[in-house]
Amino acid sequence: MTSERKQILEMLAAGKVSVEEAERLLQLTAGGPGATSVDSSAAAISLRVSDPKFIRIMVEPAENSDSKKDQHHVNIRIPLKIVRAGVNLASLLPGDTGKMVQGSLLEKGYMSDISKLDSSALDELIEALQELSIDATVDNHSVKVFVE
């Protein structure tokens, strides 16, 4: 077992990541669907910033890609405050609307029930995000997800 896989399983056992997140990470380390190549140094999970404010998603062409035609640059910065504000808003939604949101999330494969997400669970979720950093190579593009 590689150190990355072991680290992911330890994080799952400690409840720092959900089953779906762990599965996705394992797929990345194993070169599963959605990941064409990931070397051992590319899929890294490490301790990061102590007080993160943003989730950053960056996609840049890999250094060895020569064709300039299909090169995409994506730079997304999402404030973490949105997560907390979104959960507050969702908790106030009327019953029927809440069920619709829950149904849409289930359709997209998010199995967690947002109505049961209280402030302590939210703190744990944000704490887990602090430690997550993904660095992978997909379709000749370097994909980085981290908090800052």
């Binding site: 404010k53 299909d70 730079n75 910065r77 404030p79 808003l89 106030l92 009327p94």
Partner: protein, 83 residues
């Protein structure tokens, strides 16, 4: 809060902070109508929930400050910044 949108060559600054007073006035104008509607339909107990929902929606909008989306390739550029 100010929004910057750019699509290809077209860029636009939108001063969102100027919209808040307009939205507040509209909300205050519609509030009595909402209250009457709730009283008629027997759902006046949900009034405080409507108030809380409004504040939560405002909080959600404020939380988007700092959002940055930038997508570029050889043909096009798309940017949204919330500052």
């Amino acid at each position: 809060m100010v929004m910057w949108i750019r699509f290809r060559w077209f860029g636009l600054w939108i001063p969102l902070f100027l919209l808040w007073p307009i939205l507040l006035v509209l909300w205050l104008l519609f509030l009595p109508i909402v209250m009457i509607g709730m009283a008629v339909t027997g759902r006046i107990s949900r009034f405080w929930k409507v108030i809380h929902l409004t504040f939560a929606a405002y909080e959600m909008v404020c939380a988007t400050r700092g959002l940055r989306v930038e997508v570029r390739n050889d043909r096009t550029t798309f940017q949204i910044f919330l500052i």
